[in-house]
Symmetry: D2
Subunit: 347 residues, 4 copies
Amino acid sequence: MKALVFHGPGEKAWESADDPAIQDPTDVIVKVDTTTICGTDLHILKGDVPAVTDGRILGHEAVGTVVETGSAVSTLHEGDRVLVPAITSCGRCSYCKLGIPAHCEAVGGIGWIFGHLIDGVQAEFARVPFAETSVHAVPEGVSDEQVLFLADILPTGYEIGVQNGRVKPGDSVAVVGAGPVGLAAIMTAALAGAGRIIAIDLAPSRLRHAKDFGATHAIESGDDVERQVMELTDGMGANVAMEAVGIPATFDLCTRLVRAGGTVANIGVHGASTTLHLEELWIKNVTITTGLVSGTTVPTLLQLVRDGRLAAEKLGTHHFGLGEIMQAYEVFSAADANDALKVVLKA
Amino acid sequence: MKALVFHGPGEKAWESADDPAIQDPTDVIVKVDTTTICGTDLHILKGDVPAVTDGRILGHEAVGTVVETGSAVSTLHEGDRVLVPAITSCGRCSYCKLGIPAHCEAVGGIGWIFGHLIDGVQAEFARVPFAETSVHAVPEGVSDEQVLFLADILPTGYEIGVQNGRVKPGDSVAVVGAGPVGLAAIMTAALAGAGRIIAIDLAPSRLRHAKDFGATHAIESGDDVERQVMELTDGMGANVAMEAVGIPATFDLCTRLVRAGGTVANIGVHGASTTLHLEELWIKNVTITTGLVSGTTVPTLLQLVRDGRLAAEKLGTHHFGLGEIMQAYEVFSAADANDALKVVLKA
Amino acid sequence: MKALVFHGPGEKAWESADDPAIQDPTDVIVKVDTTTICGTDLHILKGDVPAVTDGRILGHEAVGTVVETGSAVSTLHEGDRVLVPAITSCGRCSYCKLGIPAHCEAVGGIGWIFGHLIDGVQAEFARVPFAETSVHAVPEGVSDEQVLFLADILPTGYEIGVQNGRVKPGDSVAVVGAGPVGLAAIMTAALAGAGRIIAIDLAPSRLRHAKDFGATHAIESGDDVERQVMELTDGMGANVAMEAVGIPATFDLCTRLVRAGGTVANIGVHGASTTLHLEELWIKNVTITTGLVSGTTVPTLLQLVRDGRLAAEKLGTHHFGLGEIMQAYEVFSAADANDALKVVLKA
Amino acid sequence: MKALVFHGPGEKAWESADDPAIQDPTDVIVKVDTTTICGTDLHILKGDVPAVTDGRILGHEAVGTVVETGSAVSTLHEGDRVLVPAITSCGRCSYCKLGIPAHCEAVGGIGWIFGHLIDGVQAEFARVPFAETSVHAVPEGVSDEQVLFLADILPTGYEIGVQNGRVKPGDSVAVVGAGPVGLAAIMTAALAGAGRIIAIDLAPSRLRHAKDFGATHAIESGDDVERQVMELTDGMGANVAMEAVGIPATFDLCTRLVRAGGTVANIGVHGASTTLHLEELWIKNVTITTGLVSGTTVPTLLQLVRDGRLAAEKLGTHHFGLGEIMQAYEVFSAADANDALKVVLKA
């Protein structure tokens, strides 16, 4: 088969690779119908994720068709159309039983293994371990593209932003960073009934997208953000401030935008430590949350897509054939210049 | 009357002061029967709390008797025995209605005003604003000393440590710092059914107290704390790590002691910022909480004392007459040398 | 002044009555600008609520203007525009402190006293006890009619239906009874992100309203309701079934429509006991909730109205002058014949 | 092997049966080391559970040793000592993923299948389906008898009584019925910090046990229960009333013992419907819960046993060899006459 293979920092190729085969009784093999590229893939290509070694097939988000099943698999069958999510879940370790497969112990303590510790799904075929406890049937009448982003980015915005932030109807929510994951948080915060959703970003183009995804207000970062947020929240600050950038300055901003009793939900992937102003925050009754997505909300999100309540496909702005993946990487690597959110790759 | 009056950094005196008088219809005047000294009072005396000005009567924890009531007060009467808690609550601002009187807007956004923004309770009499929504009737058959520490330190340990930490039966809890507030957290974590309560402190004498208050394990800080906590928690880390010291090193330690899915509950009063290792924590699914006590659990704690479930009086190790308060301050200022936890001052 | 006075079962009149006066320091007097009629008022007129005695002014929902304040009132002033809700809250009893003023002990254990135990708001003026802890400022730029139904019916649907039912994004919700309170539940369930909202009623006209308020599906009661709901919920049943009629048959239906792990939220006012099929339900892992509204969500609902997220005024289908209240009662008493939901009475 | 085989109502025998064999790749075979008898087994013998047919081996609670593993089993090995709980969980159906294996769809919608739909564990050996997602490793240093009752009755009391009832520290809890499951609820309510635990039963001997398991007060049913409970709860009623009998009268009593804002947690197995006084309860803001145990708390309960916080073995009052099971049934069938709680059968 053909696959997108990592060959060390800066190096990748769409090349021939061995077809995957069943290794464990709980595996299935999936033909990849539709996949996408994640910001994490770009980090890997920069060499930021040393666990990814030369020869690894990248990619951790796909919609596919089951073509082979392991001997212990009884609820998935050849021809089943499934969403393969970013997180693998064994279903039996203590973290899986607690509903936190993000830290599944059976796959090493971090549930993200596709395109990381095992070969991924930017390929014609992929082996999916612990398939019955990991993949989701795609509802009838729903297209690949409508559910593709439920593999990672939508549940990330929803679980790590909205659920961790305990967004309730009427809440004012400030989302710092209106890139794809920020937009996913905005979209699902709106669904959860947030009253005011304030998007904050440097780029006017991203703020336009933010409004389209449900933001009620947009603030350019250059402006006096803190004052504006206070004005929009009766002087109290946001109930929930979400960090969706991944740098110290935006995290710190969130701790100033949140009201007493509120929550800072960190969604961003951070490469550096930050200064936490405990000398101000100790008295403020705030909650700060972090986390990798677990994907436990994917069944719910699938139903919301089926019911027309979540237009997840709006994140897919650029479309390619799977064989054009090198070009798709180029476009996605310069997302802002191309006004791209996410790319869609169809076999 | 006599009162303990602050006269600028390092200066205080037990001296004559004007008797307090009703100012607002919702006030009552209380004769102070029993009071104590808080670590915060020592901070004030060091000059760390500039809002406290020369002439202010200190103290924010008391058991007393109502001697006069404002014209709007209908549920408190002369002779009623009441617990005057650290936090004043108007009962009608948005924070009070949300159950967070720690940030009562009617008294300026921070509910702690006694001995801070208005005269306190280290005195023979005190004016208590918003009395009906702030004070608590002392149950019959319970002594002053049994409930005195419910004015501040017990609910702080319980609300900011145990409740914010969402301690559940069977949880492993690490408490860093076994001073009075750490002991209050230990005592109430045990009440809430924590399985293993691991106290961590520099001082062996404090660790002895910790065991007496319910800690199941004690670790001296000099030791390899992180490794020991991992061993005691099946290699996972604590469900809840509580910071009860107030310095960067102990806060950082807590972020390393907590497991994925767990909570760091900050109880300590911090005077400096800290480094937050988001480059490790972003993926760890942790929750960090901070806060000033609200006192919403005081009615529950009073019942637990009445029912013999909470021996709160154990925190009172040294006893004085109210007129001996200067001496009590000396003992409490050198608490470790005196093996003192809290002092009790009786009129 | 003029007021709508109850004179025993079947008897009422719009007649002269004494102007109300301040009785307690926490009272205010309000000029009634806009009011409405509740189904409960019709029950009173039928003689179903014996606590309401001859001479009582009816009504418990109003928007008005403060014209006089008691001596202890410091945060409300003459000229303030306020929402007077159905529930009076003292702010200091144990139920108010727990956030359940529905059972405020200061007013006798049931927070609904207007037009019940004291004179109500279907009048030109009204005395409002415990005003500062009970009334809500109306946001600028919002009309009386937009907030009027936040006095009772909207928070009833939201608190007793949606919050008690723990409606989460994606949930399937069955609402049995599409009268005004059922519509309030439907509207707020949609706001909270419910995936499928299935309205069930005998009357096609009510089902039309239901769709307009956010129901995604409508079922006529004559049909095979249970089978249809199962089909719409993947054979599992609804996550939440809300009873909004108040008779045994519809309550029983709800217990059959709910899935294992789900909630039956009773909103209806019941005059008779029902049979609970514990022989089937004991094993089903269901939760059943009941309750009178507390109004704790009114501040949130007010913000949602201000932000254009809740078109509460849609409940007001028929408009009258306050002096036309006798005619308004006639229309509301025959609501279905008049295709009326709620009436609006403006001074 | 030998096993206890059901032969229709009233008929059972300890007789030879085929040794169990692996059927599915996820099965294991367990040698039964210790087992017990459940009240449900007595119901089966009375003919109350028609799904149990002639030839079925009874029993659904055991501690055993793995002797053979299916081809897909990788985390259990020959010689592992495991707790086999009452509930089988596939780990991948929607109910298992939601944490409600009580309704596991893979085994027919009710997770209790041992000694019901498949052969049970009152035998020398047993086949355990979905083993990796169902059984629990027994911690080192803990005896069979210490954990045996974690197979069913302890988690039933804890999940269906204490967790469903949302028991918090300081709560007053009324437990109606002090048989084994009531005692399990009492024991775990005490662990969770309940303030007053009021046991109510007809039998003085059971009330003695209740006090030994943590009840703070005991009331004989013949007395004026409601008045006494009100006196013990400041006139408000219990925060949580647990039904642990399974008849209409005790369920109804619970709805009268609970305060506004509180919860009735039904634990009892009911064979008949009951009258629900909605005409009184609709306004009372109560929650009623029902349910079959899921066993999701067993890992926590195992740790509490290991840590000496839960003396679960106290439920085992009478001891037999496995071969004496017919005699054990006799004793357990006349539990009250024998002052028996649960029997322990050791191979």
